[in-house]
Amino acid sequence: MLSNAFRPASQDIALVDPPPDSISRIKFSPTSNLLAVASWDNAVRLYQVDQQGQSMMQGKLSHNAPVLDVTWTENGSHLCAAGCDNMATLYDAQTGTPQQVAQHDAPIKCVEFVNAKGTNVLATAGWDNKLKYWDIRQGQTPAMTIDLGDRAYSMDATKELMVVATANRRLKIIYPDERPEMIFKDVESPLKWQTRVVSCFPTGHTYAVGSIEGRVAIQYPKEIDDKKNYSFKCHRYDIPSGSMPGTPAVFNTATSQNSQNVFAVNTITFHKVHGTFCTGGSDGSITFWDGIGRTKVKAFTLKELNNGDSDARPPQWGTPVVSTAFNHNQEIFAYALSYDWAKGHGGAPPPGQNPTKVMLHSVKPDEVRKKDKLGR
């Protein structure tokens, strides 16, 4: 097995035939090593991968419009993709047979399968300020519609907890197995800037919020006292000012210039066994954290990922990490690199140049395991 052999992250293997445009979401099947890659070129691609980093494109599912999110059913037989064509489509993972299952009035940003009071339903949230539940066997009418009050940006669900992040820094907390029809809590984000991503701990009682301003907050929605809630900074780089490498600049009050380059936290993904999570930034680096122990487990810098160099002058930022995923046995870690529109149209890569990549990393236990008190 490859995880015993030593292979640094700089030698991670790229997926063959990556999409020609940016990736919006990647997700592994919960039962096999089938990776679904949703992209802005109106398609979902399915790749069969293995531990050695070998990959093979198994199918391409075409949409009418850019695909913004993709998710799998629990048994891995079907996957559901949604995007700018305002609808969600269910595909058979083997045959690729499409079936429209959901409809919104605006692009659908998030899709997720949720266990609502014991029945498995599809939850979709879109930029029409709506969260809808669909019974996929029933078809075209939503089982339930909830008004979110703002455009949905990110959503994640476990068996007990579901969190929807919307524009204007609102977070909606829903307990799908108790009251799926009700927003249990509507809170303002603990972070001061736009929410980019929200992700629930596998334990289901905690969630993590990432913002565009290089910060992650860990929230315990059921705790009475909020002392356990905290946030931390990440994906930031000091802007060197002095002559010596590595000297940080001081805050310049005259020009009110900040001393750091601050990048968005694009993705938070949990390791289902160890409960650690990784953040992927717009800078192009990935860091693994222990959210309970409040420690950094492993950092993959730009250099280590072979994706730019933050120490160079001027710094060469890598291709943003837009989505990350663990496979079903948590042994393969896939991360998608592509342009995340942070610089608008002008920052898009010129035609003919495609920075989009999906890298496959063989997970070493040290990278994802919580450290004990000795730091080992």
Partner: protein, 290 residues
């Protein structure tokens, strides 16, 4: 009277061969080398020398060691045994000494030219200054090319990071065909937004500054139809934050681009099959037209 002798003794500070960083003290240098260059990638162990790290990797982890970390290019090898300042190749040492002496020499020359002693020697111009100077220059050139334009140069208005080469940067209020979609529809045409380089002083107060009121118009079919690619304005980085726009996410802005926009089927025909047909008919018509 009390004029100091200018011929001061030139002292070479301890420095790290791997990353060319200078230190005040040899002890600090040793600490630095241990933690930055001779740290094992697979366990928390730190070794004293490159050779020690190699032996450690081979004996403990049973694998060939990875190249040394955090080094300058080409200096990540295990062949040279360096401990602090000991073991540095003589030619590299001589080169470094010559460089430092030259720097000290030029600094002294500059000091005599200015008539006073300088306190720091900067061998690299800070990036922030460079970027500010570039922005100022760009604004100046733009103003010169368009003497009638109203917007003055804004020195240092791109705070940090490289401003994106946005095509809308070079546009001026008078040429704007229609207000960008981020404006409320009722806005009078005289209230065009300031050029993208401009930032209201309030918003510069950092993260804690009050966010401007949301002006993003949620997308309806009517709104998306009138947009063109260049109408979608993305703000340049502000306070180092790469996406300072509080009203919409990058994905939303991106979805407004012409090439990503989806024309929804006409009301009444919700069937996807019909929309497929409609799309193919449209394509055919366009092809005939060409």
């Amino acid at each position: 009277m009390g004029k100091k002798k200018r011929t001061q003794v030139f002292v070479l500070k301890p420095w790290c061969w791997y990353c060319e960083r200078e230190f005040e003290d040899e002890k600090v240098l040793l600490q630095h080398q241990k933690s930055k260059h001779f740290k094992c990638q697979m366990c928390p162990r730190k070794l004293n020398t490159a050779g020690g790290l190699m032996v450690h990797s081979q004996q403990v982890h049973k694998c060939e060691p990875e190249p040394l970390t955090n080094t300058l290019p080409g200096r990540d090898g295990y062949d040279i045994e360096i401990f602090g300042m000991e073991g540095i190749p003589t030619n590299a040492l001589a080169e470094w000494r010559a460089r430092k002496e030259a720097e000290a020499g030029t600094a002294a020359l500059a000091a005599t030219a200015n008539g006073k002693r300088i306190r720091h020697s900067y061998n690299v111009i800070p990036e922030a200054d460079l970027i500010a100077a570039l922005a100022q220059h760009k604004a100046l050139m733009a103003a010169r090319n368009n003497p009638g334009s109203v917007f003055p140069p804004f020195p240092g208005s791109f705070p940090i990071g490289i401003p994106p080469p946005n095509p809308t940067l070079n546009r001026f209020p008078g040429e704007m065909p229609m207000p960008p979609p981020t404006l409320p529809t009722g806005m009078p045409p005289s209230m065009y937004p300031p050029p993208p380089g401009f930032q209201p002083p309030m918003a510069q107060n950092g993260i804690s500054g009050v966010a401007p009121p949301p002006t993003f118009v949620p997308q309806s079919n009517e709104a998306t139809k009138v947009l063109t690619t260049s109408d979608v304005v993305v703000e340049p980085p502000k306070d180092g934050v790469m996406w300072p726009d509080v009203t919409a996410s990058p994905a939303e802005k991106r979805a407004q681009q012409a090439r990503y926009r989806y024309q929804s089927p006409p009301p009444g025909s919700a069937e996807s099959a019909e929309s497929f047909e409609a799309a193919s008919r449209k394509r055919k018509a366009a092809a005939d037209f060409l």
